[in-house]
Amino acid sequence: MAKKLMKGSEAIGEAAIQAGCRLFFGYPITPQNEIPEYMSLRLPQVGGCFVQAESEVAASNMLYGAAGAGERVMTSSSSPGISLMSEAVSYLAGAELPVVIVNIVRAGPGLGGILPSQGDYFQATRGMGHGDFRLLVLAPWSIQEAANLVQDAFDLADYYRNPVLVLGDGLIGQMMEPVEFRSDRQPIKPLEPKTWASTGCHGDRPTNIINSLFLDPEVLERHNFKLKAKFDAMVRDEIRSAAYGTDGDYDVLVVAYGTVARVCSTAIEELRERGVRVAMVRPITLFPFPYRAVREAALRASSVLVVELSTGQMIEDVQLALEGARPIHFHCRVGGMLVTPDEVMEKVDRILAGAAAEVSHG
């Protein structure tokens, strides 16, 4: 299939449909409305169904019902809406239901603003809802990657029977870039028929019950350890990151994800043209976090620079990765303000001149 110029939101919606998603439940919230709008038009064309729910609370529970009936299903929202969905996400994880959730993150807290942010990193990577669970979190930096990750997200959700979160921001949603959908795409995981789904109890088979209630503590403990084994398998098998300029020698390693990494890559190109030795590791999975890739790349540098659109969230994972082995510097813009390549270049120059302070929080 030829490349097509698409807006990020439309590419995300089309990717879901190409991955077999036939149901979308959502509620309007800026800046992600183009995704449900696209789905409301496209899903009926492919025999699917779009429902505008009365709230994010309801939308996420519609997701629960449809996923429990064995169908591929997705929702999208933005930060305040994701908070409302966090109740259902806990139930989805507890009941082991595969769904794909897209969070086009906006600045917070509270209503905050509608411009890009990475302030939901903790919420995304630390389980999101009550109870003891994790989400697999994928963070694209381009429209093509957003489309690919959405498709992968359906396979990963089905394989692990766990919600998968795609974490973007308004830039991913609004940018237009060429996108290619491969018609010969195969699932990235071996997928079993969903024999556990509540689809009607035929004949003598035991009833299928979709449930997260386990009143017997011994049974619940076994369930918790079963979930833990899945999260361990994700850590073992699903870590993804990309490295830039780590082939040669470098003095500063930048760690950034999503669209911020895109900005940083521009800065790194210009710095390297000037002869400044700088490289980058970009986490693509935020849970599981690429601790080893970050550590190994960082140990080859004299210092590390973390760049985020939050006042410091992913930096805690970088600190865990480095265990104090290298000084960590930090640069951020928040509130919907964006990091510029000039800011990153200036920060790197100051680090190399010995002027930038090492981060001390965490």
Partner: protein, 258 residues
């Protein structure tokens, strides 16, 4: 040779329930199961259990089930029915679940006209959590969070769900019934049968409210609980069919500018 004239419905699991003595959940479960049997839809029915005393309903029916979070059963039902319109989907919800925390979900499920059936068990109290005031608790009725009786100045009046839902323009079958006497139980089964039939025919949303007793949390022996329901709930919650899809055509004309 002896003829079997009465037996456990096939849709009802051969297990002992956790319900208190005198509670009417067991009767309502049985009526729902009988209707599922009679319509021959057991193998394509999916139930949704609530949070509340009915939380373990998935153990008591021989149909597939999903356990919803508190109040969200109508949203879960929507998800299942939209995914699989061929399935017969019903929720089983109490008054705290449906009329308090789940008010948004039930109103919008009904208003979208989801082709699902809601069994709404109203016993005027929170049972499972230990007898707190519900939106349906009667004026003056004592509960653990209104120990001096429900004060309508502070808490408002009990919410009448079927009357409220009957105001919606979307076609639906909405009825209220009771099960505290055999005659009422026979009528309740007829209401449930009609509700499920509308779904099987793909006609409309359907909801049957069943007035129910809670001897444990009302602090009454079962027989007295039945009398209390008759004397206190029945006058405030009148029984009957409040809305039918056929009647929707005779709905009031829209107001000017509507």
């Amino acid at each position: 040779m002896a003829e079997t004239v009465f037996s456990r419905p096939g849709a009802l699991a051969p297990v002992t329930t956790h319900y208190c003595p005198g509670c009417t959940h067991g009767i309502i479960h049985r009526l729902v199961a009988e209707v599922i049997d009679e319509l021959g839809v057991r193998e394509r029915t999916v139930g949704i259990a609530p949070v509340g005393c009915g939380v373990l309903a998935y153990n008591y029916f021989t149909v597939d089930f999903q356990e919803a979070s508190h109040g969200r059963a109508p949203a879960v039902a929507t998800g299942i029915k939209r995914a699989r319109p061929d399935l017969i989907v019903f929720t089983y919800q109490g008054d705290g679940d449906l009329a308090s925390i789940g008010m948004g979900e039930i109103v919008h499920c009904a208003n979208r006209g989801e082709k699902v059936t809601v069994v709404f068990v109203n016993n005027a109290i929170y049972g499972m959590t230990g007898g707190q005031m519900a939106p349906t608790t009667m004026p003056g009725q004592i509960a653990t969070t209104c120990p001096l009786g429900r004060d309508v100045e502070q808490c408002g009046y009990p919410i009448r769900i079927v009357e409220l839902l009957s105001t919606l323009r979307t076609p639906a079958f909405v009825a209220r019934t009771a099960v505290h006497t055999p005659l009422h139980a026979v009528n309740a089964k007829e209401m449930l049968r009609r509700a499920f039939r509308y779904q099987v025919a793909g006609t409309c949303f359907s909801l049957v409210e069943v007035l129910s007793t809670c001897p444990t949390n009302w602090g009454l022996p079962p027989a007295e609980a039945n009398r209390w329901l008759d004397q206190n709930m029945m006058p405030y919650y009148p029984l009957g069919v409040f809305k039918t899809p056929e009647g929707a055509d005779r709905a009031p004309k829209p107001a000017a500018g509507d």
